[in-house]
């Protein structure tokens, strides 16, 4: 049902293919998560999804990415030296951007509740530590997390759509999403169908995102509630940077509020160059459409140094506008304690030890 409705809406929209000129008259930035109006938010590019051929022509018309050049740029930004006050600022910013994640078969309500406590008060001994942005769990544990975080300001994100492989029917994916939304998830981290993407069926990927986006806004028990959609590209399986750029655009065109690198289940996950390319994509997308899309590297970000490198990447690629948890997240499970240790080192001048930070 989702597919038919969305596809029908798009076809009458004006034709505007990729152009090197900024598209005029598109200053209006739609509120993110404005489900149901997905196609109008990307109206200038609506025609590109009129057929798989059109979508392919558009995505393959994007400027290429030279891997070596992108790697070199990311490596250079990785040499930025962030010290003293800047480091203190970066650590708190990074903490506030963490999507504290547990995505294990062994997850239990108890594990999730413990993680939620940590999310709200990352360091119980220091109330000046900001809370994290969100916790990220499987759909069946959303309700537990929602209860544990009630009133805390920490959002609940749920993976969905047959995470992590995405190998199921669209109906299952939509139902999976609807269940999580109904359970109170404020954010949905969906996976794209990499098989469809790699086989060139871009329209299938597009339509699935549109359908899941619609399911995010379906409301469920809470009626007006609509969830934020993060689209996981699983860049480790897309293999090339050209594909990362194309998948980023595909997701944004289909209505993603965020584009996310990885599930964390595939290596390589969030590498700096991949995040760089996705940041360039959201930068260019805003330039063309006026719509602002967030970026979430996830998987493999374990140290404060990694986190700060990501912030530098944001700062020097898209600018300070994106240095907010609304538009940049760090998907991680072990990163938080390293951030806390570094934070304490800065406060006390002594190197910290892991025994002084909770393992949750």
């Amino acid at each position: 049902m989702y597919r038919a409705a969305q596809a029908g809406d798009r076809r009458h929209l004006p034709k505007k293919l990729w152009t090197h000129q900024p598209l005029v008259g598109l200053e209006t930035v739609r509120p993110v998560g404005d489900a149901g109006e997905v196609s109008t938010t990307t109206a200038p590019f609506a025609e590109v999804a009129s057929s798989n051929a059109a979508l392919r022509a558009f995505l393959h018309g994007l400027p290429g990415v030279d891997r070596v050049g992108a790697d070199a740029r990311a490596a250079m930004l990785g040499t930025r030296s962030i010290k003293t006050t800047a480091k203190a600022q970066a650590i708190d910013l990074a903490i506030s951007m963490v999507d504290l994640t547990t995505l294990e078969g062994a997850d239990t309500p108890g594990k999730v509740r413990a993680m939620c406590a940590k999310a709200v008060h990352p360091d119980p001994t220091d109330p000046s530590v900001p809370r994290v942005a969100a916790v990220c769990v499987y759909p069946d544990l959303v309700a537990t997390a929602v209860r544990a975080l009630d009133g805390s300001g920490v959002k609940v994100a749920s993976v969905a759509t047959a995470f992590p492989s995405g190998r199921s029917s669209l109906d299952v994916k939509v139902t999976d999403t609807a269940l999580a939304v109904a359970a109170g998830a404020a954010e949905i981290d969906m996976v794209i169908d990499r098989g469809a993407f790699l086989s060139g069926d871009y329209l299938k990927v597009f339509e699935e995102i549109v359908a899941v986006k619609a399911a995010c806004g379906a409301g469920g028990a809470q009626g007006e509630h609509s969830a934020h959609l993060k689209v996981i590209l699983e860049t480790g399986e897309l293999a090339t940077y050209d594909n990362v750029r194309r998948a980023s655009w595909l997701a944004m065109l289909a209505g993603a509020d965020f584009i996310k690198t990885s599930t964390g289940k595939v290596q390589p996950a969030a590498t700096l160059p991949v995040t760089l390319i996705m940041l360039e994509a959201v930068r260019d997308f805003r330039l063309r459409t006026g719509r602002v899309v967030g970026v979430k590297p996830a998987g493999g970000i374990r140290t404060t140094k990694d986190a700060i490198k990501n912030l530098v990447l944001v700062n020097e690629t898209v600018g300070a506008d994106w240095l907010t948890p609304d538009l940049f997240r760090l998907g991680a499970s072990t990163l938080l304690n390293d951030l806390l240790m570094q934070r304490q080192k800065m406060a006390t001048g002594r190197y910290a030890g892991p025994d002084y930070f909770t393992l949750d």
Partner: protein
């Protein structure tokens, strides 16, 4: 919102003496003249040290020392020479942080570049040529190629230690001895290298360092005891040297100026092309002979490329070269700054449109903001003359043939850049560009294994690789 706090590299680990003599015959000696020169930090105008300016008599003494050393050095088995050069490479690696700091203090280049580009390449160059010393018979110059004798080498201030490495490493590997004159504004790392030679127990006289200005250089180049002259610097001086060695039989290699075209096609990988443009002309403040100082951009994407370029330039961080986050350091000297200013003024006067990002300029020292000229015509001085500063001239083209024609329309021929995702076009362009180095989808890459050098008035001879040996062998 996210301001980087100052992250200055410490200068505590460098030990700069108040004054330096000359390094001749393995000893520090006083100049026989009494002219001294204060070398300054161009970022602060602070005096770093006082350096002797070698006289003709000093140069003569250095050449004699090199001549004496040549007998034994050239007779050493190549494998023994190799080990000395390997030693030097290792000591450079061990002392690379100190040398990087020294380079940045004396030259004004950002510590990030001296640390991540200059010093690794310096060590790599010695390591590479060390390995050649006992394999010269396999290099394609006959079974037992002989060295030339005493090499007089004059190097510029833009990559002081790297240019020293490019000169000294192949010279020693081939069995020559050396008298090297560093640039007048950047003598300190060459003087530190003299100390490295001592630490390596290099036989006295194999490497001699004479500091000074143009007159010292002329005395060296014109010395009858010199068998080989190697010069990197301006085409103007190169011309003078070529004239002065006429009839002497001295072998000459010259690495001179450039006015490279960096050619961006409409199908380029845009973000990397923009990085390449930035790296092409703003690396080392544009003090690069092979800098991509002319941007030739296909007209169909000119606006888009320029917008992206300007956005990117706005993120460049100009300031204290010792700050680890600085992208653009100081101009090396007041004289160079005056020259850059003069040419930039000419650009404005000739009708080109000048643009620089908003960037605060420090009060002391020599600074020039990253500058882009649009609306530049082939006839403008800024499109023809080497500025040797952070100034980019933007021209447009319509077809590949026009790009080639404009790129080649210069007396220089050192380097060129091509940005396109189409392989056959890269090769078509590379074939037609009259330049010694062509970077396709990259720019300003260097490697000791890779020959570097120019066509036409950019000089002759190649440095790097097997080709680099030829300049130091009697072939």
């Amino acid at each position: 919102m996210f301001e980087y706090a100052p992250a200055p590299e410490s200068r505590e680990i460098v030990d700069i003496k108040p004054s330096y003599g000359l390094f001749i015959g393995g000893e520090w000696v006083d100049s026989q003249g009494d002219t001294h020169h204060k070398t300054i930090n161009p970022a602060s105008e602070e005096v770093l040290a006082e350096v002797a300016w070698a006289t003709e008599a000093d140069v003569d003494r250095a050449v004699q020392a090199a001549r004496t050393a040549f007998t034994t050095w050239s007779a050493l088995p190549g494998s023994e020479r190799a080990k000395y050069i390997f030693r030097i490479a290792r000591i450079i690696q061990e002392r690379s942080r100190e040398l990087a700091i020294l380079e940045t203090l004396d030259n004004g280049k950002p510590i990030r570049e001296s640390r991540d580009v200059d010093l690794p390449l310096v060590a790599a160059h010695f390591f590479y040529y060390a390995g050649w010393a006992d394999k010269l018979g396999y290099a394609g110059f006959g079974p037992d190629p002989r060295p030339l004798g005493v090499a007089g080498q004059v190097i510029p201030w833009n990559f002081p230690l790297l240019m020293l490495a490019w000169k000294i490493a192949p010279a020693l590997a081939c069995g020559n001895t050396v008298v090297l004159k560093p640039a007048e504004t950047t003598p300190l790392t060459a003087l530190a290298f003299a100390d490295i030679c001592r630490q390596a127990d290099l036989p006295p006289g194999v490497v001699n360092i004479v500091t000074g200005a143009g007159e010292t250089g002329a005395a060296l180049v014109n010395h009858p005891g010199v068998d080989k002259v190697a010069f990197t610097g301006s085409t103007e001086v190169g011309r003078m040297i070529a004239r002065s060695v006429a009839g002497t039989g001295k072998k000459l290699s010259l690495e001179l100026g450039g006015k490279a075209a960096n050619i961006v096609f409409e199908d380029a990988a845009l973000d990397q092309a923009v990085e390449g443009i930035v790296n092409g002309i703003f690396f080392n403040q544009g003090h690069v002979c092979c800098a991509g100082s002319r941007l030739l951009v296909q007209e169909s994407v000119a606006d888009e490329v320029l917008d992206a370029l300007k956005r990117r330039l706005s993120t460049l961080r100009l300031g204290d070269p010792m700050d680890k986050n600085t992208d653009i350091g100081a101009i090396n000297s007041a004289a160079q700054l005056a020259k850059i200013r003069e040419l930039a003024e000419a650009g404005v006067n000739e009708g080109a449109e000048r643009w620089s990002p908003a960037c605060p300029i420090p009060e002391r020292g020599f600074w020039f903001p990253p500058t882009v000229f649009t609306g530049v015509a082939q006839s403008h001085r800024i499109a023809r003359e080497e500025i040797f500063g952070p100034v980019l001239s933007v021209l447009t083209f319509r077809t590949p043939a026009e790009a080639v024609e404009k790129a080649n329309n210069t007396p220089y021929g050192l380097s060129a850049g091509i940005w396109t995702e189409k392989g056959s076009r890269i090769l078509w362009m590379a074939d037609r560009l009259r330049a010694g180095v062509v970077w396709a989808n990259t720019f300003n890459r260097f490697d000791p294994t890779s020959p570097f050098g120019g066509y036409k008035e950019s000089g002759y001879g190649r440095e790097g690789g097997r080709h680099g040996l030829e300049a130091y062998l009697a072939v």
